[in-house]
Symmetry: C2
Subunit: 503 residues, 2 copies
């Protein structure tokens, strides 16, 4: 290897290390803000975050890094590199190219618009008045259309918006998956609501926080999270954060009326955390050490929260812990509990939706975002369209826009193209479970014993270790035999609900 190649490689690795380290510091600042920071620390915390962000930006747009990447990308040099170096260089090159597509002055206008939109959205939602948010949303949508032109992806204009979250995903792919998914969910929902077992089990009562904590720690440790690489704390909005490749933390909140909220939340965040802790170590401190997409990350949280954590095999094993911890559940039946855990019901708020109807909330948003991107829907039409679609998909109509088009913070931050990732995660998770069961016929027996070692090994080998060396679709195709496939998800749902609701 020539001296100049080595010098350029040193440059890209040292730049990436500084960037990763600053990102980790940013994560710690955020984690502490949400967990332990005294209230009045917020002023200096904002300064600390803003300085870190500024330093991070300087490092990321550094000409030195860009030049080194460009030199290493020339065909004869690139082909002489090791596989690892090639993966890093090509990933960096793509990231830099994407970054450069947006003119600086556009980014300035964009930040200004979303900064103004956030408080307007909060106020609109509080006052249940879409008109307060509308001019801001209008502005953001027009900026998003401008962004589509800069990004200029082939196919549907919405492809340009999805790319940041799901690199390589297309409207064509999603359309075909979501079309059948919507039909199947609506049909299954009807079957469930018409079944003779459609009666909600009653688990109202008081559930002590200490017991909830003990159970949460138990499931974390069973899932394979060790206290020397992770921890669980309390925050108003649960999250997972990576402060280092060996320091990934999750949070939850405890609801005294409902022990499932913290429990499912902890399994969800633990799924994210296991993914982060399972990243390929040979790519420490590089851009490759990350998830290939938001949907793939979400597949890990949903796999544990829903596929494992709402399944009969898991509860066959784990229910005894609930009965032991909570006096009121001493005589509860496992059947009732499974019905409670898998209760299905149309509702207005996405984040409170059950595993089945959740998809309809996503498809509704996807339809609207796609229409906005292509210009077939106007901003002012959103609230009515929202309500019509709620009625069509779920058979219920919001009483006001705070229960409808104003419920999510995403659009006020300019996050268009993000919602599909949530449902992609659910679909991937079901595909992963299918593939695992095919390869390991004894899987459910293991789960019934509370032994997740084969699951951990499978996920480590087939998902975690790829980092960003491939796209999410490639990773899933390699692991499960096909890219995004909603039929696997529907098969999984039908199978589960048929048992529980006696369909």
């Amino acid at each position: 290897m020539s001296q100049s190649v080595q010098k350029n490689l040193n440059t890209i690795y040292s730049c990436q290390k500084e960037i990763k380290t600053l990102e980790q510091i940013e994560s710690l600042l955020g984690w502490d803000r949400e967990t332990y920071m005294p209230e009045k620390g917020i002023t200096s915390r904002s300064e600390q975050a803003s300085l870190t962000g500024k330093l991070l930006h300087q490092k990321m747009v550094s000409k030195r890094l860009e030049d080194a990447v460009s030199r290493l990308s020339s065909p004869e040099i690139y082909s002489s590199l090791s596989e690892k170096d090639r993966n890093v260089v090509s990933r960096l090159r793509k990231d830099i190219e994407k970054e450069k597509k947006l003119p600086t002055e556009f980014v300035g206008r964009y930040i200004k618009a979303t900064t103004l939109a956030s408080p307007a959205w909060a106020s609109a939602r509080e006052k249940k008045d879409f008109s307060i948010f509308e001019p801001h949303l209008e502005k953001i949508i027009s900026l998003k259309k401008e962004e589509i032109e800069y990004r200029d992806f082939p196919g549907h204009p919405y492809n340009s918006l999805m790319d940041y979250f799901e690199e390589g995903m297309t409207v064509e792919n999603l359309d075909s998956n979501f079309r059948s998914l919507r039909k199947d969910i609506v049909s299954l929902l009807g079957d469930i609501m018409g079944s003779r077992k459609y009666e909600k089990a009653d688990f109202s009562g008081k559930y002590g926080v200490k017991s909830q904590k003990r159970i949460a720690n138990k499931v974390m440790s069973q899932m394979g999270l060790s206290s020397n690489r992770s921890r669980l704390d309390v925050s108003p909005h649960p999250f997972t954060t990576t402060i280092g490749p060996d320091d990934v933390r999750i949070t939850t909140r405890y609801n005294k009326d409902n022990p499932l909220e913290s429990f499912s939340g902890v399994m969800h965040e633990s799924g994210h955390a296991l993914f982060e802790l399972g990243m390929p170590r040979e790519y420490d401190n590089t851009v490759v050490q990350n998830s290939a997409s938001y949907g793939l990350h979400e597949s890990q949280s949903r796999f544990w929260e829903n596929v494992i954590g709402r399944g009969a095999p898991f509860w066959n094993h784990f229910f005894k812990n609930f009965r032991k911890e909570f006096r009121g559940m001493k005589n509860a039946s496992l059947d009732d509990w499974l019905l409670y855990v898998n209760w299905v019901e149309p509702s207005f708020i996405r984040i409170e939706a059950d595993e089945l109807t959740y998809g309809l909330h996503i498809i509704l948003r996807y339809d609207i975002e796609k229409g906005l991107a292509e210009g077939s829907i106007k901003t002012e039409e959103i609230p009515e369209l929202w309500n019509e679609k709620m009625n069509e998909y779920l058979g219920i109509v919001p009483e006001n826009d705070s229960e409808g088009a104003l419920q999510d913070v995403h659009w006020s931050h300019g996050l268009f193209g993000y919602f599909p990732s949530y449902e992609i995660g659910s679909i991937y998770a079901a595909q992963i479970y299918d593939a695992m069961k095919k390869e390991m016929p004894g899987l459910e027996d293991d789960i019934e014993k509370g032994d997740f070692s084969v699951i951990n090994k499978w996920l480590g080998d087939k998902i975690y270790r790829h980092g960003r060396t491939m796209s999410a679709e490639e990773i899933i195709e390699k692991a499960c035999g096909s890219g995004l496939d909603s039929s696997a998800f529907m098969g999984y749902l039908k199978n589960k609900y048929s048992e529980i609701y006696d369909l």
Copy 2:
């Protein structure tokens, strides 16, 4: 004000803000490492701290800052500045001048020597073998002599070493204070140990951590620390850290056998924290917002821990909380408790020493460091000299060097000139209490009621608000009528122990 003056002022304020912000980030990284970080997070934490340190260093030695300070320091510009700007500029100028006295290559050698010395010291202490540490200590001492030449303060060579901790303090001043202090402590110690009440009260037992926590939080809040600007956590080595002017945190550790350890520790750290939180806000994000010296900072922790927290007025009020929290203390007498809290006894380890004998540990170290600085003591003579002085001052002789000259980490880090600050803190604290009592004759009544508001106000007005606009000696002289005065401290000790031991 001319445009160029304004530009230079902007430069110095924005540089200082970045420096302060990076220092705060550094504090958070350290706080989290000691409190909540999962064990294996240490590798990335070291990278994060090292990057922050590197960025901090770059900002501090920035030519831009130095040039702006130098321009603003020219007499006609300087005299046209506001009082605040003058304070900031002159403080910065002094700091930069001091920083520049040490050649970079010297700093490199110094860091290398102390880096190698730390593990050698730890191993020597563990193996009770001074010879393992000796060559490293020899090297550090020779570097310290070189440093003395660079710093080149007038008077005794040791003045150059003390300056970093106690700007403006001199051997001449300390010699006269420590000479009489040593004589007086030894004499009072003899009186106490010969008194008929010299019998230790028995408070052995088990003290629940929850109760200890509750009491610790109670005293913090009574002292004036509010949970929206501070917090208490657990760490192996208690400390106070400033993460922002409104975010100052303390830690403690709980010993189930001794409730006084956490309680005194919390009062100590709370004293530091109140000082940090009381810094002059008009100097936010400047070098002026800091303590004028280590001794002045220590005066605040010792004022609360010892002067208030071991005094009869405080316990007249607070003892009921201990009796309530700890079942075993239900029938304990206040007299016995005061004897327990103020127990005096010669011992080997400085950090375990009582309020009276502590000074002898410091004077011993001061004597040795001074001798090393002037060349009258050689490195290899330290252990024997230590033991001789222990015998002379305290009447006891360590069995090995781990109980003697190897007990403190300071020298392995190159911290020569630091020890005096601890005792200066005790002396200042007594002077402060004297001045308070003179000005507020009803002070002890307030303390007996658990009302510290007049104390907080006095400390705020006379100590906290000065930051680094004056030297510690100037602050104390202005507040108490004279600079360092060990006779005030002895008067306070004699007064207290006479009551308790019936002298």
